[in-house]
Chain length 269, copies 2
């Protein structure tokens, strides 16, 4: 298949996925008794949607399709970009900061990037502010099952990658409880794309399961405060280390679309 | 003078300066009718003080004196650190986030760093969230007068440096209204130290003048909201670009002491 065709198919799926995720979340708001909907923000290279609801205090679901040329300094780190800095990229990012401190922040990303090479990347991870072993086990088992259907080595590999990636070295602290993270996936386009799509579906199941389970639970002021500090760490990670954020800000992305990931009311001591 | 002696003298001045700044701010709180005082946090390599007052919503005044060895990757960017990665550094950082959105955020830093070379660096800058031409003129004139007493070229040079430094490229937006910024000052230790001390005194005058002038002014909800978004930009700058922050986090600094610079209640859209 020609690369143009691949790009077209992938883009279509990403737009689909954005719609599915938004509907899923709006349904959860409805189940909660809220009427909050996503607000749509269109820009030159994409569309990001933001919800400020009663279940999701702040949530962003962004689709983008950026075509451009990497800055020289940045291109050195990108595969297939040494002699030709042009790129095509498309992706979906989801970040949900729930109001209830018992519900973890949920993050998902998937992307298809084309230089002289082309590859998929993505991941799913959770950032709880309070411990919940049952939830942790459910989440990792769910991811493992999904990975195993594609390749028995994926889960171990992508879990490790996730743990290494979502880590704050200056605090010697993980961001959350991990999940899966993968990048430079360019073995077999058809199979890789199947995996990426599967991850999208499973992510939607995880959203529903994790949020609906605890969205009605009561919380204390102290727990809400713990959440605010945990959100401070989230800001630290995203601005200090996150490669996706750097990629976006360095490749002509829309800063408001990229930074929609930042949590509401973060706090530092 | 031997370097040990220089370090001793500089360190003493920095500790003095920390005390002067804190007293100055506590006096402003008192003038306002508040009894808020700084809370002192000691750690292995320094002491940072935090105030959460009625004039200063959040303020940090940190002294540090870190002795260590730079990580390999980081040391390449540091003068005199190619063959020997050991360093001695000491500095004072002040960041004041006033409650009143009419009063600008105020930042000051000064440092003395020793590798095989040794130099001073520092700066003063303001980040208003609302325009105030009179204040801007007062501030820059004050800095110019101070600089001119040392060298007629300093103000232009350091103002430019400041404008270039405190800039958010991803937003094509300056952080604030600038001020002065200098680094790698290693011409003449005595003269450079005089300049650094003078900057410290003038900074105290600026704090008093800028804050006391408007701390009693009334503000609107809308202005407070503008301040919250401006504070979001402040977080972006400090975590994405600030070299001092990176230096600290890469050289064994205390993350809580370094990130005391982050504003209270920042917001993103």
């Amino acid at each position: 298949m020609k690369i143009k065709k691949k790009q077209e198919i992938v883009k279509k799926w990403f737009i689909n996925l954005q719609n599915i995720v938004c509907k899923n979340i709006e349904q959860l708001e409805k189940d909660f008794g809220s009427n909050e909907k996503f607000k749509i923000n269109k820009w030159k290279f994409g569309e990001y949607r933001v919800i400020k609801g009663r279940v999701i205090e702040k949530g962003g679901v962004a689709f983008s399709n950026v075509v451009g040329k990497f800055p020289k300094k940045f291109s050195k780190k990108i595969p297939g970009s040494n002699n030709n800095r042009n790129f095509w990229s498309s992706g979906v990012s989801v970040i949900l900061h729930p109001k209830n401190p018992k519900v973890p922040a949920i993050h998902f990303n998937t992307r298809f990037i084309c230089t002289k090479k082309n590859w998929f990347g993505g991941g799913i991870d959770l950032t709880p502010c309070l411990k919940d072993e049952k939830e942790k086990n459910f989440f990792h088992e769910k991811l493992k099952k999904m990975c195993d259907l594609h390749n028995k080595e994926y889960y171990t590999k992508y879990k490790k990658w996730c743990d290494e990636y979502f880590f704050l070295p200056h605090r010697n602290e993980p961001r959350g409880i991990g999940g899966i993270f993968f990048d430079y996936k360019m073995n077999n386009w058809e199979k890789d794309f199947l995996f990426v799509k599967h991850a999208g579906y499973v992510f939607n199941e995880i959203i529903h399961e994790v949020i609906s389970k605890k969205m009605f639970s009561k919380w204390s002021k102290k727990q809400k405060k713990i959440q605010a500090y945990k959100r401070g760490r989230y800001v630290e990670f995203n601005l200090l280390y996150d490669r996706g954020t750097k990629f976006g800000l360095n490749s002509g992305g829309n800063p408001n679309a990229i930074l929609v990931s930042l949590p509401p009311s973060p706090k530092w001591k």
